[in-house]
């Protein structure tokens, strides 16, 4: 067994991983499942650099998710907490619609970015360091800031344009 502090890694990385995945699959429940799947694999394989490994595997899982035709079963049902179930059932339909609307806006804005810019932004937002992002995207560390700067500007612009279009429609 390596000297990895799995408890700490899990506590700090899992939420980031879910956020990262959610912005790829746009299904909160599925994002949690995939994050769990990534951790299950990490626990099985005990990679040397688990954090970077987790994000790489998560990215691949999300990609496979899009490619795979099968309706995936949620085979980690046993891991779902009752709290999640309660939360889910308590949400009103309006709140869900509102949430979906917000997510759709963000998704559309993100879709306006190039793939590399989007990936860099999501990785940064998920807590990855410049060095980790550089490694995953095959960039120089010095280029990560430039990529993020461009991505943030484009995201803000795309989001703003969507909002303006919505206002005009109403």
């Amino acid at each position: 067994m390596s000297s990895i502090d799995w408890n700490d890694l899990y506590r700090t990385t899992f939420p980031e991983l879910v956020r990262f995945l959610h912005r790829k699959v746009w299904d909160a429940e599925r994002a949690r499942d995939l994050a769990q799947e990534a951790f299950v694999r990490a626990l099985q394989h005990e990679p040397k650099k688990p954090r970077a490994w987790l994000f790489q595997v998560a990215a691949n899982l999300a990609r496979d998710e899009a490619r795979t035709v099968i309706r995936r079963k949620k085979h980690l049902v046993l891991l779902k907490t009752e709290a999640e179930v309660r939360e889910s059932s308590a949400k009103t339909q309006d709140a869900k619609l509102d949430e979906q609307e917000r997510w759709a806006a963000v998704r559309e804005a993100l879709d306006a970015l190039s793939e590399k810019d989007r990936e860099a932004l999501l990785l940064w937002d998920a807590g990855q360091s410049y060095t980790e992002i550089a490694r995953q995207l095959n960039l120089a560390v010095g280029a990560v800031g430039t990529t993020l700067s461009r991505a943030r500007k484009r995201l803000a612009k795309a989001y703003q344009e969507r909002e303006e279009a919505n206002v005009a429609r109403r």
Partner: protein
Amino acid sequence: MSHVDEGALHAYLDGALDEYPPAEAERIRRLLDEDPEWARRLEIERAVRSEAHGILAQASPTVELPSLEELRAYVKRTRPAPSKISVRMYRMGWAASVVLAVGTGWALRDGQLALSSSEAFQASRSGDAPVETAGVPSVATAADASQQEPAVEEIEGLVAPAAEAATSTRAAAPAEAVQRQVAAAPASPALEAAPTVAEEETQLRDEVVAVGTSSDVVAAAPAPTDAASTDAVESGNVSDLLAPARLADSLLSGAGLPANAFADLGVAEEQKRTEVTEADPEAGAGAASTEVAAAEPEEDESRERRRSDSPVAITSALDQASASRGNASDDDVELEILAPGSIPGLDVVEVANFPAEGTVYLGSHITQRMSDGTLIHVYRLEAEVEPDVLGVLAEGENEAMAQIDEEWVVVRGSRSTEELEEFILLLTPDEG
């Protein structure tokens, strides 16, 4: 130089300057401290950064941490067991059986028990008592009963399957086929339509060469030391040195074959248990042991490696395992073979090409068995081959399928679709 690009400003805001070269980081810090114009630009970028963060935050689901202990327990429960193909083998037993059967055939040449050979055989045994193998008349017993028709028939009954076994060795793994069929021979009744002994002799002469060549048993036989051997050497009749009777003699007299008799079959003596599944994925593995499970993400070759796990490679692995039987210990040896692309945890029954016959290769077909005996078929089709080539489902069968990297993976079996989908999940790639 008094310029800082926007990327550096974002690195500053992100607290990532420490990841820059120290001198560059120091220059940026100093410039932002000293130059009001850059300080102003920094505030603009800060606003952009904040706005982007706010947008993304709208798409942040509530995250509750499942228990890590539960995850660990899940990992422990589901850690895939290697698929096993059990192969039982008997080291010297089968070799002795082969030589005994071949030797018997030799002794029976010319349709009668050749007394001279029998005598030489007996002489070479230096007066040892005939070996009585359970259910198998010893050669000496057969010789004594050479005038009794039923006894000869019985011996022919033993020889025929052995010859049959030897014949089959031309096309496939010699040792394995001979082992199986010779092992079955004692229980076989005398064959009514057995070939004549003369035919058997001719056939067996050929097959002894085939078997001997393939395993080098003959080449590794003990050097002749008795009178008959000396005669053979002096007469220049080298083939006599390779006479099956002599080999049988060596074995039956307890001398056995030299320790290295099977050395070229490729497996060391101490390899009683061949663990093909234990290869370290980071260290690289042979074709037989390629692990399909997740590997380090930086190991991009893993995908290529997975692709290389063609049925040919799998067959090669099985062949390798079969070959290793020749040098196993006296104990039964169980080989564990991980069939790449199989469902973890289920026994692998068969690995074959799809279709099984013909020259067209459309994919692989792995048959696996669940603990209750249900057979599950896993088909991995080549790119651009559609699942409909598999034909209609058998009665009671269901199927689940997924397209991964343009290749269809189809699982069929007499289980519910949901269960088959679970299997599909286990077969999906672990990484890139």
